[in-house]
């Protein structure tokens, strides 16, 4: 769970310093932390695909029907 807190920048400062000291010495842990951060970053930055046109049409038709009802 320390790793989890570290990744989310919520780790107690004392533990954080000792973890970072360990990361400087231990290449394996450093690579795991770096590639896990990269994993999060890649997913976070991934652009959602455009809606399929038929899906979008149905959504907007359903909304238009509901919004028209609200107006009348």
């Amino acid at each position: 769970m320390e790793l989890e807190s570290y990744l989310d920048q919520e780790l107690d400062p004392v533990l954080r310093v000792s973890l970072e000291e360990h990361l400087l010495k231990c290449k394996k842990c450093r690579l795991i932390v770096d590639t896990t951060k990269k994993t999060i970053e890649i997913y976070c930055n991934a652009e959602p695909a455009p809606l399929p046109q038929d899906t979008r049409n149905r959504l907007h038709q359903a909304l238009a029907k509901r919004l028209r009802r609200a107006q009348s």
Binding site: M1, E4, L24, I32, T35, E41, I42, P48, L59, L67
Partner: protein
């Protein structure tokens, strides 16, 4: 003293960039009955909400229905939105509920999200390699999207959905816990498991790319 080898943690936990500053104004206008303002909000978030409902339901038809129902519900209950959270967070919570209902209906035997699930201990991989600075750029965009999609689909729902809300939709740990009816420690342990599993699965693509 400098520590050049430890990268600063990327600011993925900052408020979502998808939420633009004019959101409160748009929401206020929509609440006042301005239809175009609500349509603008829909247009802004429809892709993200559809990705969310797809990732939860794993079924296109259910995902589409859940997305539609989420926007319609949001419209109907707009008056109840008090602005204590971001509108987008509120919308995500509605969409999660709709998508979970579909998932449970279609797959009643699916592990309940609020049950204890075995998060287990991740074993440290024996051989860990660097991915390089931008491993994702070694792939065409559509190919990369396909990889990300197939890798996340492999995760069991309790892990996939927590990762989706926390790291893709950028909800806070507390918001994720509240949306899923989980405790904060349960969210954290599932999230760690999901992140490490995804890392492990992506490693196959990125270390291969490294050697190409």
């Amino acid at each position: 003293m400098s520590s050049p080898k430890v990268d600063p943690i990327r600011q993925h936990t900052l408020p979502s960039q998808v939420v633009k500053d004019d959101e409160p104004k748009l929401v206020a206008a929509a609440k006042a009955g301005e239809i175009s303002a609500f349509e603008e909000l829909v247009g802004r978030y429809e892709r993200k909400i559809f990705r969310l409902t797809q990732n939860i339901t794993q079924n296109k038809e259910d995902a589409e229905d859940a997305m539609q129902e989420a926007f319609l519900k949001a419209y109907e209950h707009l008056g109840e939105f008090e602005g204590n959270s971001r509108f987008y967070t509120w919308l995500v919570r509605i969409a999660v509920n709709q998508a979970l209902m579909k998932l449970r209906k279609r797959r009643p035997n699916v592990v309940s999200l609020d049950e204890d699930v075995e998060t287990g201990e991740e074993s440290v991989p024996r051989d860990v390699q660097d991915w390089g600075p931008s491993p994702e750029q070694r792939f065409e965009q559509t190919e990369m999207s396909g990889i990300l999609q197939s890798v996340i689909t492999d995760l069991d729902p309790p892990f996939r959905i927590v990762f989706q809300l926390r790291d893709i939709e950028e909800l806070s740990t507390e918001e994720t816990a509240e949306a899923l009816g989980l405790s904060v420690p349960a969210v954290k342990s599932r999230l760690l498991r999901a992140r490490l599993k995804l890392r492990q699965k992506l490693d196959r693509y990125f270390r291969q790319g490294e050697n190409q």
